[in-house]
Amino acid sequence: MEAGTARAGAMPATATIEEARVRALVARYFYATTAIFLVAGALGVVMRQSQADIFPIEDNFFYAAMTAHGLGTFMAWGAFAVMGFGFWVLARSGFEMRPLGYRLADATWWVTVVGTAGIVVTTLLMGFAGSWVFLYPLPFFSAGQWGDAATGIFAFSVLLVGVGILTWCTAILHTVAGPSNPSERGGALNRIAVGLGIGIVFPRLFPVRGGETPYPVIPLTVIAVDMLIATLPLAALLVIMIAQVIDPSITVDPLLAKNMLWFFGHPVVYLLLFPAVAVYYLLIPQYAKRPLAAANVIGIAWVIGVIANVIIWAHHMYLDYPADTFQSVINVAMQPLTFSITLVSAISVYSLCATMYKSDFEWNPASGFLIAGLIGWFTAGLSGVVNATIALNVDVHNTLWIVGHFHHMALLNIGAVIFGAAYAFVPELIGKRWYSQKLGWWHLWLTMIGGYGNSIIWYIQGLNGGPRRFSVLPESYDALSQLTLPFVVLVALGQLVFAYNVIQTMRGRRRANDDKPVLADTRQIGLVTGALALAVLVPGFLVALDRLPDREPVQAAAPGPEKALSPEAQAGEELFTTTCGSCHAFSAAGTSGGIGPDLDSLPLTQERVLAAIENGGTGSGQMPANLLSGADATAVAKYLDEAGG
């Protein structure tokens, strides 16, 4: 930490941090987000090409990369980007940072950097592959792929990120509660109430100087309050997991653990969205050159939002309803509550469109990205409503539709806002103009065309039953996965253009004569959008309507030489493929599982197989005892005896 920060503590409480230091702080957040985003994005490219069977990667590395990609993009955007830009939005809305807030903001950066490093090490180097939700108790059932130490360090790293979220929330609330807040009554509570937008709903109880609450402060205060509440149970779960690494007798009920996880997991998605809304409230009026066209109803929506946000987590658990639990009641109650939070988005989109409508709007890469993000916000919200509806969720839960939805939301809404904010804020933060506006426009179009192609294909695959989180998808989905690749390349190219633009800008370079926008003419936009729709939707739906060929059974992969089998052994073959084949490679059955011993290399006798089935695995202890019993076990033993070498 710099010496200046330490000295700041001695200043009187009314002292504020110079704007130059806030700029430097936010710039540091921007550099971190860009670096992490590029790495996490590259992991996404690696996974998608592997699924399309170009250069397949090993299964556990796929899942470890998936874990790092999910958490990494969150760190990049949910942590560094929206957190840093959040401070800058507050500064530009007239809220001055004070010494404690600055120290917390600085600490947040460091804690999150260390946490991110821990996540990278445990996933990519130590093989932790529990997915970003690390659904308890999966981290402790690694099938021999990673050790409890990796689980412990991983949990500790995520805990650090959680601490970072708490310090960020405190820094935001500390700044909102400062004397620069326009609350007439003053005092921390009144100021935070005004920050929450309550002054719009009850202007007499919470009078505001000048009568207008600065809109950008509302989403930031709302999410800061909510994340303080939502992060604590997650922290408790992580502490229990660390304790279990040390003493295996300390455990937690898995259903409770899942509720704790999603109690955090839902609001943390809004940690991405709400600060993005704050960026909109600040920048759209600036580009439209008129104030935000908002009615009182926007204040009501935010009051509903701050409450609803922490009581709708179970929409991630609609298909969990174990016998003799209340989970189904919680799930049903949370459908209407989830619906209520869409009001914030629906009304904000309306206000922003109304502000922009027939205005003398300034078009540049920043405003272009923001408007593209606005379209992404609304359309991704529509697929979100599908997910939030139990009766529809049953048919899309854990399919690639969900993957389509959150990449739509993350890249084409949140990502777009973050890029827009970067194009708008970076010159203010580092005092240098962008190297090239034209490259900014290229970044926009490559990201949008590639991103929509990518998500639309996921949507189609999901509605055709494509399962989520499969390192290797069933063969019938391969055609569409391959169709995705050109779009993945476009997204990747867009980000390389962005990275180049950032580096040149940091070096203080300027590109001459590049103010003419690319595809800024509305006719060109229409042409590109139409071409995109035709290029993706038509083949996609043709493939979908043609009822993709039925999935090939796994054993078709590499059948060994046929042997004449007794009828009992034939029954055993089927049981073997379904029950044993996913872990044991056995060429006669064409199975290739790599968890248990390779059965082609073992001398197989009936007695030995029966003993293994009865007692379970004797090696790493992964194979449960008595997976099969009685005649079934004998049949499998006979089969292996007859078919084995």
Partner: protein
């Protein structure tokens, strides 16, 4: 695609098309000559309340149509045929492996270890799914809590089972099947 998935595909595409058309109109309006006066802005604010009411009504309508179709009530009814499904890393033990078409089946889902997802497929069509609750580590019982999925199969044939909750390194290989006979 099953019926619900087809409805989702059509509904989502249609609503996206409408929102794109509106976005197009708003974007075009910024290059028009006639700029709006401040008085019009006031009108916009009034309309925002009307719009908000419209959104609430639409959400209530969707709620009223869908809230009674949950998988939870069905499971309480039980099924005329019982099938035990035991999930483990990384496979399924399904017994019996044959059920009759046209009569309801109650799948009793249990897991020996982590959480799994019981997804029933015909070809690429996802027919039905439910989560399989995980077992608590170090627990004395062999299985975690039970969860039931009740379903009636109309068409005879082979149905495949895929795991629909990420469960580890061989998640994608965790397959099973059962027969529906006339």
């Amino acid at each position: 695609m099953n019926t619900t998935q087809t409805i989702i595909a059509i509904g989502f595409t249609a609503l996206c098309a409408v929102s794109l058309a509106i976005a197009w109109r708003v974007i075009r309006s910024t290059s028009e000559k006639s700029r709006r006066t401040p008085a019009d802005l006031e009108k916009i604010r009034e309309r925002e309340n009307v719009y908000a009411v419209g959104v609430v009504v639409a959400l209530f309508a969707l709620l009223a149509i869908t809230i009674f179709s949950t998988p939870y009530g069905k499971s309480a009814d039980g099924g005329s045929q019982q099938v035990n499904v035991d999930a483990f890393q990384f496979g399924w033990t399904i017994s019996p492996t044959e059920v009759k078409a046209g009569e309801s089946v109650e799948f009793n889902l249990r897991s020996k270890d982590v959480q799994h997802g019981f997804g029933i497929y015909r070809g690429t069509e996802l027919i039905a799914q439910s989560q399989v609750p995980s077992n608590r580590p170090g627990s004395d019982s062999e299985f975690g809590q039970r969860q039931d999925l009740v379903w009636t199969f109309d068409e005879p044939g082979t149905y495949e089972v895929l795991c629909l909750e990420f469960c580890g390194v061989q998640h994608q290989g965790m397959q099973g099947s059962f027969e529906v006979v006339p």
